[in-house]
């Protein structure tokens, strides 16, 4: 399931958040949106998810245009920076949520739901925590629940908004590696936002660098490092000046 | 209420003479609560025995002017039994009943009359004997607000009549008298009953200017050991009239019952109940029977002393009238 965006633009009031963004994310790829704060990367992600609607431009999932479709129609799994777990529901119920709200026709039966949730809990290594509530979990655990919840609906694509931003350094490193392994296993088309270049370069197949709503460069990590497209990329990545 | 309307409409359409329950709304002034509680039960019995029909009379009480205003705004009164003719004239002006309504029942449509007397604390510590005692400095007088209360207007006119008799045609002196009287009033309630409660229960004031029937009722309720009645030398004949509100009764189909309801007030039973509740029955026989329970007082009528209600209302109680000119709250 590939993602393609074509000339997306979005303004909030007088402020331009995203300008003429065009990206292609091939099926099964893991792409990072990298840039300083205010560069529009989160807005771009939300445009793809359907949580915002663009002023101009189009969004395609595997060739099918989804620009006018709202979030609940796009089946794009979204992992929020601050998890956005349902505080009043247990871990189990959080993960099962996406399946429980399906219309009667496509809703799996109770047993099936239970099986799937347990499968996911195993995947994120949180099986013993099924009955706990989000308030009783650590940051890293919550993030894994958020991930499992997003995966429960068998999303076409997976979108992560600074997934490790709220965690401390050690946990972040662990989860980073874990995410890489996870992606290799599942091959789900994923797009994640980060301001941490180390993270982007370590985890992603491809990196998109943004500044002030404009895309500066798209390419494999190694390529960008060897051939920065402009001065901004050069400075942002802290590369040595090359004559 | 709408359901009741429907039932009445069906009753009307079907063959007449079939007995069904009927409801009347009697919008009355403040002090008549006890009177109509007793009378309504008596009338229901009378009507049932006469026609076999069940009738329930619902009551609403409040300051006479306030009630008239409510009827104008849509309070669906089948009959009104208010404190003074002017309040019913107001309804006639808006077409709710004919302009000659007062001729529909005898005695100017007043089945009972009353007058204005004083209620004082037992032993009459302030020595109140007559109207001129009310203007003495340091006397606290309780009376309701003439703008809303019928009783208050009768009070005012009683005082004015007395002053006019004393000072002859010197209107300036009369005005001054009334002004002094109202200067002694600490609080103006909106209805006669409110003032009675202020005087009797809250213990405010030295003298209450009250409907005669209110005064006697207070004695009965609170014991003659707490209060006594002082009848002034001269007072005004208060004629609280009754009328069928034709437009409403017509809509409800209750005209015959409503007419009978008011007519029965003039019957022996009705007059007896009025007298028992300290109203002066207008039927001479009944009046004679109850004469001994009232004090002796020279009564003047509104027509004699004031040229009728229309004149009195416009001269004294309308916006900018004499009451507005002279009234200043006692605290000022």
């Amino acid at each position: 399931m590939s993602i393609r965006i074509d000339g997306l633009s979005k303004k909030f009031g007088g402020h331009v958040a995203v300008q003429e963004a065009s990206i292609e994310v091939g099926t099964g790829k893991l792409v990072a949106l990298l840039g300083p704060s205010g560069s529009g990367k989160t807005t771009l992600l939300r445009l793809i998810a359907g949580l915002e609607f663009p002023d101009e431009g189009r969004v395609f999932f595997h060739g099918e245009e989804v620009t006018q479709k709202s979030a609940y129609e796009r089946r794009a799994g979204f992992v929020f920076q601050h998890y956005a777990l349902f505080q009043h529901l247990s871990v189990f119920d959080n993960i099962a949520f996406g399946l429980e709200v399906r219309p009667r026709a496509t809703r799996p039966c109770k047993d099936e739901i239970r099986e799937r949730v347990h499968c996911l809990l195993k995947l994120v290594q949180l099986e013993p925590f099924a009955k706990r509530f989000p308030a009783q979990l650590s940051g890293g655990q919550r993030q894994r629940v958020a991930l499992a919840r997003a995966l429960a609906i068998e999303p076409r694509v997976l979108l992560l908004d600074e997934p490790f931003g709220a965690l401390d350094a050690k946990v972040r490193k662990e989860l980073r590696a874990w995410l890489r392994r996870f992606h290799d296993e599942t091959q789900i088309t994923s797009l994640f936002v980060t301001h941490d270049q180390e993270e982007a370069f370590e985890v992603a197949n491809e990196v998109v660098i943004l500044n002030h709503g404009h895309i500066q460069q798209i390419g494999a990590p190694g390529l960008i490092q060897r051939e920065p497209a402009n001065a901004f990329v050069h400075d942002f990545l802290g590369l040595d000046f090359q004559i | 209420m709408k359901k009741q309307l429907l039932i009445l409409a069906v009753a009307l359409l079907s063959a007449s003479g079939i007995a069904r329950a009927v409801e009347l709304l009697n919008v009355s002034y403040d002090p008549t609560r006890e009177l109509y509680t007793e009378y309504n039960a008596a009338f229901a019995r009378y009507w049932k025995s006469k026609t076999g029909q069940e009738v329930e009379v619902k009551q609403s009480h409040g300051g006479s002017g306030k009630q008239a205003r409510a009827v104008l705004d849509g309070l669906e009164a089948d009959v009104v039994t208010l404190a003074l003719a002017y309040d019913i004239d107001v309804l006639a002006e808006k077409g709710l009943l004919p302009a000659d309504w007062q001729t529909k029942f005898s005695n100017n449509s007043s089945p009972y009359t009353s007058t204005i007397v004083f209620l004082v604390r037992k032993g009459n510590p302030k020595g109140i004997k007559d109207w001129n005692d009310l203007i003495r400095p340091g006397i606290s007088v309780i009376t309701p607000n003439p703008k809303t209360s019928g009783g208050a207007r009768w009070n005012y006119l009683g005082a004015w009549a007395y002053a006019e008799k004393t000072f002859g045609k010197d209107e300036a002196k009369t005005k001054e008298f009334i002004g002094k009287l109202f200067k002694n009033v600490p609080v103006l309630d909106s209805g006669a009953r409110g003032s009675t409660t202020t005087f009797v229960q809250r213990g405010i004031g030295d003298v209450l200017i009250a409907w005669e029937n209110e005064a006697y009722l207070s004695l009965k309720e609170f014991g003659a050991d707490k209060f006594e009645i002082v009848t002034p030398s001269l007072s005004i004949l208060a004629e609280p009239p009754v009328a069928v509100v034709d437009s409403v009764a017509g809509r409800h189909g209750t005209r015959p019952v409503a007419k009978a309801y008011l007519a029965h007030l003039y019957s022996e039973e009705g007059q007896e109940i009025a007298g028992k509740n300290f109203y002066r029955p207008s039927d001479p026989k009944a009046a004679a029977k109850f004469a001994s329970q009232f004090g002796k007082v020279t009564l003047v009528t509104i027509d004699e002393a004031f040229g009728g209600w229309k004149q009195a209302q416009s001269k004294h109680f309308a916006d900018g009238g004499i009451f507005d000119q002279i009234y200043t709250p006692a605290s000022k």
């Binding site: 956005a84 | 709408k2 849509g74």
Partner: protein, 294 residues
């Protein structure tokens, strides 16, 4: 609800050591004493007096008050009015809170301020506007009369006037709460495929339930106790258009003082129950807030 959030802050502050800006113990005690004295004089004593006066003629007469058919009619009317007005305003309040906290539209601030209108306006005005609108001499009067629809001086008028005066309570309980809670969970639910009603019932409602309950309780207490607005539109027809507060006035004016106070004690009981439930709700809401913030 904002009060619950503030209380939490106070709780946190209370456990800190004394800061330079705090007043000395003398001032603190003086303030406490004045507050307690005020509370006792203006709230506690009258409340005690109501019960004392109601029981003055003995418990038997006290209970007899509640068997009088006219009084029972008044209680019934009060219950019916509250049963209609409170759910109505709950729906309005939730809808208004949702619109204000989730949408951007022109005049949003004005609308938000307008919701509070019934709180600043005298209740008498609240009743009068409906007389002016629906009375026979009013704007819609003739039309209503032609269709035999009675609003003023009948139950519908009383309900409408009550809806007016209790309108802000639910909305005001919810707006600051929903603003503080943010939309993250709702957005998450959207991405998971929930929409419309599902979103509201499964995600929003559980989050706002204590704030909602708080608003509903206050609205109910006000609906049952409202006097001014209802008095204007009532017509005071015995047994038909008198609510409990109006009936209390009538009993008082008929020298039935013990009965009046007995009925008043019923309202006072309602007030105490409301206070109790409100405190419980605030406590639970505080718990919920603490949990979600840890």
């Amino acid at each position: 609800m904002a009060g619950a959030i503030q209380d939490l802050t106070t709780l946190r502050n209370a456990t800190r050591p004394r800061r330079a800006t705090e007043e000395g113990p003398l001032v603190r005690w003086a303030l406490i004493l004045v507050s307690v004295a005020f509370f006792t004089a203006f709230l506690l004593l009258p409340l005690v007096a109501v019960f004392a006066e109601g029981l003055r003629r003995g418990a038997a007469l006290y209970l007899q008050t509640f068997t009088d058919p006219v009084t029972l009619d008044a209680i019934r009317l009060t219950l019916i009015t509250a049963a209609i007005a409170v759910p109505c305003n709950t729906v309005f309040g939730v809808a208004a809170a949702w619109a204000i906290t989730r949408f951007e539209f022109r005049g949003k601030q004005f609308f938000s301020t307008l919701i509070d209108l019934p709180l600043w306006v005298s209740p008498v005005i609240g009743g009068l506007i409906y007389v002016l609108l629906f009375g026979s001499q009013g704007v819609l009067g003739p039309w209503l009369q032609a269709h035999h629809w009675r609003i003023i001086y009948s139950t519908p008028g009383i309900v409408i006037a009550t809806v007016f005066v209790t309108f802000p309570f639910v909305a005001r309980g919810l707006i600051p709460l929903m603003q503080a809670q943010g939309v993250a969970e709702e957005e998450a639910a959207l991405t998971l495929g929930a929409r419309g009603w599902q979103l509201f019932l499964r995600v929003t409602l559980p989050k706002i339930k204590w704030g909602l309950l708080y608003g509903v309780i206050l609205a109910n207490a006000r609906a049952m106790g409202e006097f001014g607005a209802v008095s204007v539109v009532s017509g005071h027809i015995r047994g038909l258009t008198n609510t409990v507060p109006l009936q209390i006035e009538i009993l008082y004016n008929e020298y039935a003082f013990a009965a009046a106070f007995a009925l008043a004690s019923l309202l006072s009981l309602l007030a105490l129950v409301t206070l109790g439930v409100k405190s419980y709700v605030e406590w639970r809401a505080r718990q919920q807030l603490e949990e979600s913030q840890s």
